[in-house]
């Protein structure tokens, strides 16, 4: 069955530290991949998405993610985090098989210390 795994549930970093959040999916076919962020009290917002082409995808707010097909991974990175990046981050996948739903990971709660 299709699934998405996020291995880091809670991450605490100091400002200016580099960030990498892991995301792995299990699906043998073509997938579209997404990272969403939810700031406290706000909507889930799309950070970036991968459909095809260049496996290194750049998103908003300095985030990027790399799709590695051989590892079934789509890790989120940011070279230097800010206090304002404190939020919950969700990886999601959509399988191109006639379904309408996103499959989400459990989310990673990031806290950045000023």
């Amino acid at each position: 069955a299709q699934s998405v795994s996020q291995h880091n549930h809670h991450v605490i970093l100091s400002e200016a530290a580099s960030l990498e959040l892991g995301c792995n999916y299990s699906y043998g076919g073509t997938v579209n991949l997404f990272w969403y962020v939810q700031y406290p009290g706000q909507h889930l917002q799309l950070l970036l998405k991968y459909f095809s082409g260049d496996p290194l995808v750049k998103g908003i707010k300095g985030f990027e993610a790399e799709f590695i097909k051989s590892k079934f991974s789509f890790n989120l990175r940011k070279p230097s985090v800010q206090w304002s990046d404190t939020a919950e981050y969700f990886c999601a996948a959509w399988a191109t098989s006639g379904t309408y739903k996103y499959i989400f990971g459990t989310g990673t709660r990031l806290k950045v210390l000023a």
Binding site: V4, V31, N32, F34, Y36, G41, Q42, H43, L44, Q45, L46, K49, F51, F90, A92, W94, A95, T96, T99, Y100, K101, Y102, I103, F104, G105, T106, G107
Partner: protein, 115 residues
């Protein structure tokens, strides 16, 4: 920028009661969705809705659940007889069209607490 809105932000109800969660999708969107997140667990798909009918639903979406678009703007999720395990954050989403090529825009969620 257009947003998906949800009301109420927090609903407390007693077991066995009916609740209706409301959502206003983005106005030109055609596909609507409900997801839920039980505390500490994954965001799970419940149902998608298009052209006034359910296009896909998960095994969670049993006979206790129903969705409706009662007018041109609202999209509701009804839980007929709530159980303790229905306590969760419920997210509404909408997209211009179906399929993963179209971004789903999410609302802020309604926290449902069943006591």
């Amino acid at each position: 920028e257009p947003e998906v809105t949800q009301t109420p932000s927090h609903q407390v109800t007693q077991m066995g009661q009916e609740v209706i969660l409301r959502c206003v999708p983005i106005s030109n969107h055609l596909y609507f969705y409900w997801y839920r997140q039980i505390l500490g667990q994954k965001v799970e798909f419940l149902v998608s809705f298009y052209n006034n009918e359910i296009s896909e639903k998960s095994e969670i979406f049993d006979d206790q659940f129903s969705v409706e678009r009662p007018d041109g703007s609202n999209f509701t999720l009804k839980i007929r007889s709530t159980k303790l395990e229905d306590s969760a954050m419920y997210f509404c989403a909408s997209s211009e069209a179906g399929g993963g090529s179209y971004e789903q825009y999410f609302g802020p969620g309604t926290r449902l607490t069943v006591t």
